[in-house]
């Protein structure tokens, strides 16, 4: 075997293990933890928003703080909660589903996590600094420019997101390469599990959509920090340009978020119906088509901008088209269950609850595509209701389904089903209470992002109901957290396939998976590889190699420090104007960059060939498990 570069086994323990790990399973857990943490912050912001709107003309928070809350709620939930949690699942599950021992670039993977984390941290430090982004998560110019936002709020947004965006982009590239190159023998593209497919398309969307955001943020950063004029109308800049750039990124972003949820739902529904996913190839086709169309509809966010009748007409039609592949998916899920043997685990309850909920978000999407009607819906609570149906009713339900479904695989312990059922009903009912009534609030004349609404306008009752629903969602989330804490104290004693109906490769290896995932790379002989073997009466996969030493990447602290360097650099440059810290800011910024580039140099000059896990250790692992 490849013992030419035999090195001592490199392992670290305790906190250093987590700071230096390049293991996709540990990085997945860190993504879930950090994403969950930001989800709680974003949720708290949501609760404050709803408390302010519980009664008309109330003063729970000030007008300025309210705008900060809505901005940070949107930004945090999209960039720092939803996306990292999705990356958490992708990390934890995809290598297992395709029969790989790690992702293609473990070091880059760690770097992606740390840049996301420090970018998010920088954004949220704005609360401590007292200058919080307040121009909405869409950051429309010129409101976000220096003329109308003199404080550093927008700077935190621009630089924080730029840094965390690096993480997202390299994460996306990493998964593209991983899925293309690291599938086990026999795992052809058309045998890949649906979650892997969806994540593959999502990664491709990230690859094409995030550069647009990067360019937009860079331009806005030039405007704000170096007195540029990209979005300054008085100097020939154009504010509609920002809208275009933002939404050319922003609309694919919606599909970046929802496609992995589609993938999770496909896995869960199929597993707990004990049935093959209905119309697998049309599901793949629909996913790809949604990905394509997702890039051609951005201007439906701008129907009222004044692009003219022809643009509005074209984007109306293009947007409606997306309903077709989405409809295909919905009916495929329903017919996966048709004739199946449906088991109502908590994971499946979330998945089953997802289907009609997402349809409601989908049909309001088609309604919004009708441009002239959108002149009425646009920027009202109708839109707020619509995208929360898609993102919470779709994505968050998918996340909860995935959490309950894969928790045993990630942690070797089963979440409490009893508490899970309570979580589900509390969250589900709360969700519909919160957002269903908001459709009507919008139609009755309530714009979105308003700090107060007047008394006597017929908006009081619906707003009150909405707030009660939000509180219920809060309680549901707390129940989930309690479930996690309780579960962490249970013994790790699960089998490889604790649901007993597992269909894909992750259910062929121990729960939780060992460091090297597969002691022997499996041979994939069909779609739903593990189910295929089970149906043939096999109790394990056919290996394609004998047991032997496994090559592993070494842990490294460099990704952590690279991200720290960017964090320091961003902080320094933000305050480098003469009115702030002046030259000191520049020096801090340069020092930060020096750390990052220094770490890159170290990485380039000192080769690290990794290490091997020897045969004895693998055999010992298997002996314990057998």
């Amino acid at each position: 075997m490849a013992h030419a570069h035999a090195h001592a086994v490199k392992r670290r323990t305790g906190i250093m293990d987590w700071l230096t790990t390049v293991d996709h399973k540990k990085i997945g857990i860190m993504y879930l933890l950090a994403g969950g943490f930001f989800f709680l912050i974003g949720g708290l912001e949501a609760i404050l928003i709803r408390l302010q709107l519980m009664f008309p003309q109330s003063d729970v928070v000030s007008a300025q703080f309210y705008n900060e809350l809505i901005t940070m709620h949107g930004t945090t939930m999209i960039f720092l909660a939803a996306m990292p949690i999705i990356f958490g699942f992708m990390n934890a599950i995809i290598p297992l589903q395709i029969g790989a021992r790690d992702v293609a670039y473990p070091f880059v993977n760690a770097l992606g996590f740390w840049t996301f984390f420090f970018g998010g941290l920088l954004l949220n430090i704005s609360f401590i600094a007292g200058t919080v982004p307040d121009a909405g998560w869409t950051m429309y110019a010129p409101l976000s420019g220096t003329t109308y936002t003199e404080h550093h709020g927008t700077d935190y947004y621009v630089i924080g997101l730029q840094i965390s965006g690096i993480g997202t982009l390299i994460g996306g590239i990493n998964f593209l390469v991983t899925i293309i190159n690291m599938r086990a023998p026999g795992m052809t593209f058309m045998r890949m599990p649906m979650f892997t497919w969806a994540s593959f398309i999502t990664s491709a969307l990230i690859l094409f959509a995030f550069p647009a955001l990067t360019v937009g943020l860079a331009a806005l950063m030039f405007d704000r920090i170096f007195n540029g004029n990209f979005f300054n109308p008085s100097a020939g800049g154009n504010v509609v340009l920002w809208e275009h750039i933002f939404w050319i990124f922003g609309h694919p972003e919606v599909y970046i978020l929802i496609l992995p949820a589609f993938g999770i739902i496909s896995e869960v529904v199929s597993t707990f119906s004990r049935k093959r996913l209905f119309g697998y190839s049309s599901m793949v086709f629909a996913t790809v088509l949604i990905g394509f169309l997702g890039f051609m509809v951005w201007a439906h966010h701008m129907f009222t901008t004044g692009l003219g009748a022809i643009a509005n007409a074209l984007f109306s039609i293009a947007t409606m088209l997306i309903a077709v592949p989405t409809g295909i998916k919905i009916f495929n899920w329903l017919f996966t269950m048709w004739g199946g043997s449906i088991r109502f685990t908590v994971a499946n309850m979330f998945a089953v609850g997802f289907v009609p909920t997402f349809v409601m978000g989908g049909v309001t999407g088609v309604m919004l595509a009708v441009a002239p009607a959108d002149y009425q819906y646009h920027d009202t609570y109708f839109v707020v209701a619509h995208f929360h149906y898609v993102i919470v009713g779709g994505l968050v339900m998918g996340i909860f389904a995935g959490m309950h479904y894969w928790w045993p695989k990630m942690f070797g312990r089963m979440l409490s089903e009893k508490l899970g059922i309570w979580t589900f009903w509390m969250f589900y009912i709360g969700f519909h209470l919160t957002f269903f009534v908001q459709h009507f609030l919008g139609l009755l004349g309530m714009p979105r992002r308003i700090w107060q609404y007047l008394d006597g306008m017929g908006l009081n009752n619906l707003n009150f109901i909405s707030t009660i629903g939000a509180l219920m969602m809060g309680v549901g989330t707390i129940m989930f957290l309690i479930n996690v804490v309780i579960t962490m104290r249970k013994p790790k004693n699960l089998s490889n396939d604790p649901w007993e109906d597992g269909r894909t490769l992750e259910w062929t290896i121990p729960s939780p998976a060992p460091e090297y995932n597969f002691a022997q790379t499996p041979l994939v002989r069909g779609y739903d590889a593990w189910w295929h073997e089970k149906m043939e009466g096999n109790t394990k996969m056919t290996p394609v190699e004998p047991i032997g030493p496994i090559h592993m990447p070494s842990p490294s602290i460099l990704p952590f420090f690279m991200a720290v360097g960017l964090f320091i650099a961003g902080f320094g440059f933000m305050y480098s104007k003469p009115a702030d810290w002046g030259t000191t800011g520049l020096i801090i910024g340069a020092a930060g960059l020096l750390i990052t580039f220094g770490c890159m140099a170290l990485r380039s000059w000192f080769d690290d060939h990794g290490f091997h896990i020897e045969e004895e250790e693998i055999l010992k692992d298997q002996g314990v498990k057998a």
Binding site: R274, N312, A313, V370, P372, L454
Partner: protein, 344 residues
């Protein structure tokens, strides 16, 4: 569309119960909002077909195919069905075509340009951080916060902003259009067949007081509108008390205008005493009819506003721009509350 007529009628009945006449997009009071509401109804109808069928299949499947206790059978593993897959691809396409046709028609009809139409009343709308300026270029009139229009006539709007992006919206009369900076003017039109006061809103986040950036559209009979034009151009008397007059001139008219006096950078105050609101958000009512926190007599509202504008509209540009004693505030409020126009 004819065959949907009875269903549409039913929906209209249900929805008309929804919302105030002066505020709700579901309760349209003019042809433009009417057209938009009709499109909403068509899309709701078509979409309810989808929702109902998905819900029906879901409920059936979940009940019929739930796993019974002790059932350990393996269901038939179905790969798919070309027939079914074609059905649920083609039917949505047909539904979308049905929706797309009226959508396209309406996109182009609502984009009609009335700015050269001599029959239409031209209005230039300029949005400012947190107030609305309405200019009638043909009439030589500038006013603020309250757009007075004649009933029945097409109002041709050219919308722009003086600062950040806002959005001009009168839910019960017409959908919104954004106000862009720097000569990027958006056009729209609407009309109000019925006399009345309609609520207008800013619909694009524009700063802390975005939610308070309301305005009113007051539709009056054409004859009243003519009287209003004349009254607006009439000469205005300054306060009779000389101390109040000098305070008003030195502190207020530097920014505001009444009649021929003062500057034009901020809201024109001519006829403010007969407007529906002060600052767009404090609603003027008669004494004894005060029902809500934002309602008061015109004098009290003016006093409240001039005394502490920050408390009414956080982040506005009037805060701290002047210094007045309590007596001067009272005197100016008194003067402005009597600055009325008799035209209705």
């Amino acid at each position: 569309m004819k065959r949907f007529a009875p269903l549409m009628a039913l929906l209209v009945l249900v929805l008309s119960a929804c919302g105030r006449e002066d505020l709700s997009a579901l309760n349209p009071q003019g042809p433009v909002a009417q057209e938009q509401r009709d499109l909403m109804l068509i899309s709701i109808l078509i979409m309810s077909i989808v929702v109902v069928s998905v819900f029906a299949i879901s409920i059936y499947v979940l009940i019929k195919f739930r796993r019974r206790k002790g059932d350990n059978s393996i269901p038939k593993q179905v790969e798919g069905s070309h027939k079914l897959e074609v059905i649920w691809t083609v039917i949505p396409i047909i539904l979308l075509v049905v929706l797309a046709v009226p959508t396209l028609k309406s996109v182009f009809s609502l984009a009609k340009d009335y700015t050269e139409d001599p029959e239409a009343l031209q209005v230039i709308v300029t949005a400012h951080q947190y107030w609305w300026e309405f200019e009638y270029p043909e009439l030589g009139i500038k006013t603020a916060q309250e757009l007075v229009i004649p009933t029945g006539k097409t109002i041709s709007i050219q919308a722009k902003t003086a600062d950040v992006i806002h959005s001009f919206w009168i839910p019960s009369l017409a959908g919104k259009t954004d106000t862009n900076p720097d000569g990027n003017v958006n056009k729209m039109y609407f009309s109000a067949p019925k006399a009345g006061v309609y609520q207008g809103k800013c619909a694009e986040l524009c700063g802390p007081s975005h939610g308070l950036m309301d305005f009113k559209v007051k539709a009056v009979e054409p004859s009243s509108f003519e009287r209003w034009q004349i009254a607006m151009l009439d000469t205005v008397q300054l306060p009779s008390d000389s101390e109040i007059a000098s305070a008003f001139e030195s502190q207020c008219l530097t920014c505001h205008a009444v009649g021929d006096y003062g500057g034009g950078a901020f809201p024109n105050l001519t006829g403010i005493g007969s407007r529906e609101s002060v600052a767009g958000i404090l609603i003027n009512v008669e004494e004894g009819e005060i029902e809500y926190k934002h309602e008061d007599t015109v004098y009290n509202n003016l006093y409240k506003w001039i005394k502490d504008p920050e408390a009414v509209k956080p982040g506005n540009h009037m805060t701290g721009a002047y210094q007045l004693t309590d007596e001067e505030v009272a005197g100016i409020a008194e003067y402005l509350s009597n600055l009325t126009l008799d035209f209705e």
